[in-house]
């Protein structure tokens, strides 16, 4: 899956660590999701969407 996490994070001037803290996950998780090495579970995808105030499909897109 492709995602816009890095762009959304940059828009808010958050580091990967900042985002990880807000999502209560490890920085490695954020890095793995951003770089497409890991597709988050549905609950985590919804948590990310809620944090950015966007629908899931506005952040994640099937390749």
């Amino acid at each position: 899956m492709k995602n816009r996490l890095k762009v959304l994070r940059a828009e808010r001037d958050w580091s990967q660590g900042d985002l990880a803290e807000r999502l209560e996950v490890s920085r490695q998780s954020v890095n793995a999701i951003e770089t497409g090495r890991y597709d988050p579970s549905l609950p985590l995808a919804f948590r990310i969407a809620r944090l950015f105030g966007l629908p899931v499909e506005a952040i994640f897109e099937a390749e």
Binding site: V25, R27, S29, A32, G36, R37, Y38, P40
Partner: protein, 131 residues
Amino acid sequence: MSTRNPAQRRYNKRVIGLSLAYAAALMGVSFVFRDPPPSGPIAWGLALLPALPLVGIFIAMGRYLVEESDEYLRAVESRKALIATGFMLIVTTCWGFLQSFDQVPRVDFYWAAILWFGGLGLGGCANRFAR
């Protein structure tokens, strides 16, 4: 594991403690089994002593996977354990048949555990190069 969240800290503590217990048990039992070696149920109990901390390490690994709340880290560690298990099964299966047909020397079963720990290293490398 490169970060230290509470689950990882607990896991590391358990594994360090159990590793020390394993070293102590192995040295102690090796000493006791020098001439004349014990026999009967006591010998069984003593011979099993070094195995118990290793069993504890396997359980600690399982507990870590249960306690780890970060799904990505859990996935990475699960993949590592699966690769280690596959590696151990492949080597022991091949070795077993070679041994059955007298092509290689007989080795003690506890090497399966050593292979599994080696497999964790392979799993770590696989994780590093995973997509």
